[in-house]
C-alpha cells in the first residue's frame, strides 16, 4: 500500500467573503510527480500555502508526511523542500551566503557537490547578490537551494512563471533527477501544460477553489474527448448523453466535448440521435484543460460571422 505523503480533508479557506479553497479532498501517494493546474486565481497558491502551514484553514485539515500542516515540526520541515512563488529570496545576500544559510538547516542532508555543480552549470558567480540577479537566475538559485538538501517531498509554487524555455527545461530536468531517487515525491503548480504533460504522473485540476480532477495523467487524457457528429436533417435539440461538458451547434453538425464517456456510448447515442456520421477526436492536453475548466455557457471570445 503506497504511503500518502500529502493529504487534505475538506480543506477550506475563506478570505473575508471570498471562497479561495472549497472543501478540497486530496491524496497524493509517495513516488509520483503531481501537476497542480488551474486558471489564474483558481486557488493553487492558497492551497499550497495551506498545506505548508503558512495560512490557517477556515475549515478542514491538511497533512504533510503524516503531520498536520498547522503544526509542522522542524523534523518534518527538514524533509520538505519548498520553492516559493516568485522565488523571493533575501535580496542583500550573496549566492554563497544563501548557500551557507540554507545548509545550516540541513546539516546531514546537504549535498555540497550537487549545489556547486548546479551553480557552475548555471554560470552564476557565488559572490553575486540576489538583487543583482535576473528573474531567471534567481529561479535557478532557488532550484539549487531546494534540490541540494535532497528533499523527500518537493513542493513548487508555479516555479516557471515568466521564465524562458531553457530555464523551464532545467526545472523539469531537476524534477526528473529528483524523482529517480528512492521514495521522492514532487508537487508543482504550473500554467504550462506541455511541461505538466512531460513530467507528471498525476494531474490535479483546481477551478475557483474547487477540486475538479485528481487522477493519473493518462486517465485525464483518455477521459476528455470531442465527438463531432453530422446530420442530414435537423440537429437534435436534446443532447442527453452522459458527460457533456460543452455542446456547439451548427446547421448540420454537433460538436460535443465529453468527459468520461466511452466510445461505445458515443456510438450508441450517435445512432439513436440519427447522426449521419461521427468522429471521435482525441484532444491535446491544453485544449482538454481549457474545455474542462470553461464555464457551462462557454463561447469563444471572437466568433466568425458569415457575411
Amino acid at each position: 500500500m503506497t504511503e500518502i505523503v500529502l493529504e487534505t480533508k475538506a480543506l477550506t479557506k475563506y478570505y473575508g467573503g471570498t471562497l479561495a479553497v472549497d472543501h478540497m479532498d486530496l491524496e497524493i501517494p509517495r513516488g509520483c510527480i503531481c501537476g497542480f493546474v488551474g486558471r489564474n486565481g483558481a486557488g493553487k497558491t492558497t492551497a499550497i500555502k495551506l498545506m505548508l502551514g503558512l495560512l490557517n484553514p477556515t475549515a478542514g485539515s491538511s497533512k504533510l508526511l503524516g503531520c498536520d500542516s498547522s503544526a509542522l515540526t522542524p523534523a518534518i520541515r527538514q524533509r520538505i523542500g519548498y520553492v516559493t512563488e516568485g522565488h523571493r529570496l533575501f535580496r542583500w545576500m550573496s549566492i554563497g551566503g544563501l548557500e551557507k544559510f540554507q545548509r545550516a538547516f540541513f546539516p546531514k542532508q546537504w549535498d555540497d557537490k550537487f549545489f556547486a555543480d548546479m551553480i557552475e552549470y548555471f554560470n552564476l558567480p557565488k559572490k553575486k547578490k540576489i538583487k543583482h540577479l535576473s528573474n531567471g537566475q534567481r529561479a535557478q538559485v532557488s532550484l539549487a537551494l531546494a534540490l541540494a538538501p535532497n528533499p523527500e517531498l518537493l513542493i513548487m509554487d508555479d516555479p516557471t512563471l515568466g521564465l524562458d524555455a531553457a530555464i523551464r527545461r532545467q526545472f523539469l530536468e531537476g524534477m526528473i533527477e529528483l524523482i529517480m531517487r528512492q521514495g521522492r515525491t514532487v508537487l508543482f503548480s504550473s500554467h504550462i501544460l506541455g511541461d505538466v504533460e512531460r513530467v507528471s504522473d498525476r494531474i490535479v485540476v483546481i477551478d475557483k477553489g474547487v477540486l475538479r480532477a485528481n487522477c493519473s495523467l493518462e486517465q485525464f487524457q483518455k477521459a476528455i474527448k470531442k465527438a463531432i457528429l453530422s446530420f442530414t436533417d435537423s440537429v437534435p435539440d436534446q443532447v442527453d448523453i452522459d458527460g457533456v461538458l460543452h455542446c456547439r451547434r451548427s446547421e448540420k453538425g454537433l460538436e460535443l466535448t465529453l468527459v468520461g464517456t466511452d466510445d461505445e456510448e458515443i456510438a450508441e447515442w450517435a445512432k439513436s440521435a440519427g447522426a449521419e456520421n461521427y468522429h471521435i477526436v482525441q484532444m491535446n492536453l491544453e485544449d482538454q484543460f481549457i474545455e474542462f475548466t470553461a464555464p457551462a455557457n462557454y463561447r469563444r471570445l471572437f466568433q466568425w460571422e458569415e457575411k
Binding site: 503558512l54 490557517n56 522542524p74 523534523a75 520541515r77 533575501f90 551557507k100 545550516a104
Partner: protein
C-alpha cells in the same frame, strides 16, 4: 547551528542601520561632549548655568554627559528602534520573503527569537557599548572636573531601553493583522506613549520592564498565530 545561522542573517541584514545609529550617536554626541569639555568656560556661560539661574547639585553632576550627548543617544536609539522594527517585520512583506524564511526546520518561536535577539544586540551591544565608552570618557578628570552621578549613567541606559521599546512597538504594529490603520499602529502608539511619559521618571526602569513584557507577549502571540 540553526539559531546562529538565523541570528547571523538578522544581524547582517540590519548592520548598516546599526552602524548608522552608532555613528550618529558617537559622532554628534561625542562631538558635543568634546566641545563641552574643550570650550568649558564659554560653553557654561551660554548654557543654562548663566549667572542668575538656580541649579540643583544634580544638574551640576549630570550636565555634561546627558545634556550634550544624551539627546543624540535618545534620538539614535528611538530612530534605530523604528528602523529595525520596520526592517525586521515590515520589509519582509514587501520583499515577499516570509514564506522562504518561515519554512525553516526550526519552530516559529525560534525564528522570532532570532529577530528579537538581533534587535536586542543592536541596542545593548552597539549603542550600549558606545554609551559606556562615552560615559567613561566623560568621567575622566581631564575631560570634566565634575564627577558624573551614577544616575546619569542609568538614564543613558533608559534612553537605550526606550529605543528597544520603540523597536518592539514597531514590530507589533508591523505584525498586527488589523485592517484599520488606527488599530494597526497600536503597538507603535503604546511605545511612543511609554517613551514620552518615562523620559524623566523614577519609575522608568520598572515601567520599561512592564511595557517590554506586554509587547513581547503580544508579539509572540501574533507571530505564532499569524498567516503569511
Amino acid at each position: 547551528m540553526r539559531f546562529s545561522a538565523l541570528l547571523r542573517k538578522e544581524l547582517r541584514e540590519c548592520l548598516p542601520w546599526i552602524l548608522l545609529a552608532a555613528v550618529v550617536f558617537f559622532a554628534f554626541g561625542g562631538f558635543f561632549l568634546r566641545a563641552a569639555a574643550y570650550f568649558g568656560d564659554r560653553y557654561w556661560r551660554y548654557s543654562r548655568f548663566s549667572p542668575g539661574t538656580t541649579v540643583s547639585p544634580y544638574d551640576l553632576t549630570c550636565y555634561p554627559t546627558l545634556q550634550t550627548a544624551g539627546p543624540w543617544l535618545f534620538f539614535s536609539s528611538i530612530g534605530l528602534g523604528l528602523i529595525l522594527g520596520v526592517r525586521h517585520f515590515w520589509i519582509p512583506h514587501f520583499t515577499r520573503t516570509w514564506p522562504f524564511l518561515l519554512h525553516r526546520s526550526v519552530s516559529r518561536k525560534t525564528i522570532l527569537a532570532a529577530k528579537l535577539t538581533a534587535g536586542m544586540i543592536a541596542f545593548v551591544i552597539s549603542l550600549g557599548a558606545l554609551w559606556v565608552g562615552l560615559f567613561w570618557y566623560a568621567t575622566r578628570p581631564e575631560v570634566f572636573p565634575i564627577p558624573q552621578a551614577p544616575r546619569v549613567f542609568i538614564e543613558g541606559w533608559i534612553f537605550i531601553m526606550l529605543g528597544l521599546v520603540t523597536y518592539l512597538g514597531t514590530a507589533l504594529s508591523a505584525l498586527s493583522t488589523a485592517n484599520w490603520y488606527t488599530t494597526k499602529i497600536f503597538g507603535l502608539i503604546f511605545a511612543t506613549f511609554t517613551t514620552i511619559t518615562l523620559l524623566s521618571t523614577v519609575w522608568a526602569i520598572g515601567l520599561i520592564a512592564v511595557s517590554t513584557a506586554i509587547l513581547l507577549v503580544q508579539i509572540f502571540d501574533t507571530f505564532l498565530r499569524r498567516e503569511f
